[in-house]
């Protein structure tokens, strides 16, 4: 079997069951690829090859004996380095936590281990999932496999770069203002921010308690649903965890979109934050493809992106300040400049600012809920521009906030970003789909229909 690194998790799992591939063969192939490409991409902060090979050998033995735990058994995965793996450092890509060894697995890590997944190691992030891309941290920033001179999006940057480059088929990221969907958009993969409360956050370093989500990042929609199946579920130790029975997120992937109504939020990228013309053209093409597939596509209007973004920032900065204040007071120089600048505003926000934002938040939630009474899924932009160059700090600062992801951290609705084209400069363009609470399955269903109707998921970055 050639090109093992491009196998999806579902393909690998089927090959394991058919005995045409073993977890040890796949893990070995991926470790060789990581050795070759990671020095250029910096996806990993910490590769744990020894533990990965131990897990692969154990999976191989179990599968050979017919003890197959499920579709992730023996499949390699990488974890953003704010997610705890017992015995490994959780650094958050920061000098502040450079010696922080996790005492226990995060709930999502424990679920992956229980499912027999092979954990390869810890992946690059923006510092504390907010400060990046940065060159003044203990580890270099990840780079975009489509062009290593460009950033791969963030903050789950190593997750995006590694999945895109074929270093692993699955990764976990986290998303507080768009940090799963940004790297998915910049790297041309599939990233889902599940419904708030669907996936436990216990053992994941917090950035903002009421905005944080853990989400799957993959090259295919089917793999995304499969990974979500593994990590979703109520956790009584996470106060934000929902007591939902939502499961089997891939059950409708093959149903198409013929009976679905899709609301296109054009004003986000046409008026509120005018997008790069190639992004606008790509989104129009997405709407055309979905209509051709049988969906009814109609325009929908929500409150402005500016307001969603302001509320996201007030809540995020206020909650993050309550976490970081002791370090910002005692060790401000141990943060990189970007993280310091993005965390300090919380010191200047009042209790009234915070509660006012949370009150307006409920009204914005009602506005999105109203829209989702008339349509099944929303379609809108993810990023307004292709990825900027890593060495162009000014352009990165200009383009980074030009996104339509933060609204759905504010509201908690499930939101998925995936590839929707390539720019003239060879960088991925993207779309975003948003669904009703705990109806992540329908978001994935629409994404799967788009994936089947187009070839973007088959494109490989030049570094491959």
């Amino acid at each position: 079997m050639s090109d093992l690194h491009w196998l999806s998790a579902a393909e690998a799992s089927r090959a394991f069951a058919a005995r045409t591939l073993s977890p040890v063969e796949l893990t070995t192939a991926l470790l060789h690829r990581i050795e070759a490409l990671n020095p250029k991409l910096h996806a990993f902060i910490r590769l744990d090859a020894e533990a990965a090979m131990d897990a692969a050998r154990a999976a191989e033995k179990d599968i050979a004996a017919g003890r197959i735990r499920g579709p992730l058994h023996g499949v390699p995965i990488g974890l953003k380095d704010i997610i705890d793996v017992a015995g490994l450092p959780t650094t958050a890509h920061s000098q502040i936590l450079v010696d922080n060894i996790a005492k226990a697995d995060a709930v999502v890590t424990a679920k992956l281990k229980q499912a027999g997944a092979v954990i390869l190691g810890k992946l690059s992030t923006h510092e504390f999932a907010i400060g990046g891309p940065s060159f003044d941290l203990p580890f270099p920033p990840a780079r975009n496999p489509w062009n290593p001179d460009h950033h791969p999006g963030g903050s789950s940057s190593g997750s995006g770069a590694g999945v895109c480059a074929g270093l692993f088929p699955l990764a976990l990221g986290t998303d507080t203002g768009g940090s799963v969907r940004n790297p998915a958009s910049m790297c041309g993969i599939v990233g889902l921010k599940p419904t708030y409360g669907l996936v436990s956050r216990r053992g994941v370093f917090p950035l903002s308690f009421t905005l944080d989500h853990v989400g799957p990042m993959t090259r295919t929609v089917a793999d995304n649903a499969m990974l979500l199946d593994c990590i979703a579920g109520h956790d009584s130790s996470d106060p934000g965890s929902a007591a939902t029975q939502a499961r089997q997120f891939g059950r409708t992937l093959d149903r198409g979109v013929r009976d679905l109504r899709i609301g296109f939020i054009r004003h986000f990228h046409e008026q509120d934050m005018p997008a790069h013309p190639e992004v606008t053209a790509a989104l129009e093409d997405v709407a055309r493809v979905l209509a051709t597939e049988g969906a009814e596509v109609r325009d929908v209007t929500l409150p402005s992106l500016t307001e969603f973004a302001g509320i996201n920032r007030v809540i995020l900065c206020s909650e993050a300040w309550s976490i970081h204040a002791p370090w910002l007071r005692a060790r401000p120089g141990d943060y990189g400049k970007l993280a310091r600048r993005r965390l300090l505003p919380g010191a200047f926000m009042t209790a009234g600012d915070y509660v006012g934002a949370q009150r307006r938040r409920l009204e914005l939630i009602a506005a999105v809920e109203d829209a989702l009474r008339d349509v099944d899924v929303l379609l809108c932009a993810s990023s307004m521009d292709p990825a900027s160059r890593l060495d162009d700090a000014e352009e990165t600062a200009r383009t980074y906030p030009r996104q339509a992801r933060a609204p759905f951290n504010v509201t908690g609705h499930p939101a998925l970003a995936m590839m929707a084209g390539l720019s003239d400069s060879g960088l991925p363009l993207s779309l975003q789909l948003v669904g009703r609470y705990f109806d992540d399955a329908t978001v994935l269903r629409v994404a799967a229909a788009y994936e089947r109707a187009t070839d973007w998921h088959r494109k490989r970055p030049p570094i491959a």
Binding site: E307, V314, R329, P332, A357, R360
Partner: protein, 59 residues
Amino acid sequence: MDPIVEALARAAGLEKALADHPDDVAAAAAQALNNAGAVKVPTNPAAEPWPPMRAGVGL
């Protein structure tokens, strides 16, 4: 630096940041003002915040 910003920073315990990274402190204060100003706080006094207030078994 604006004396009000400096006073607020000291009240927040940011003496070290003020001394070593005054530009970051000033930029953060400006950003906070900008972000908070973008929020249209509900005029209805009864408008509740999210997450919803829910009394649990411990109350």
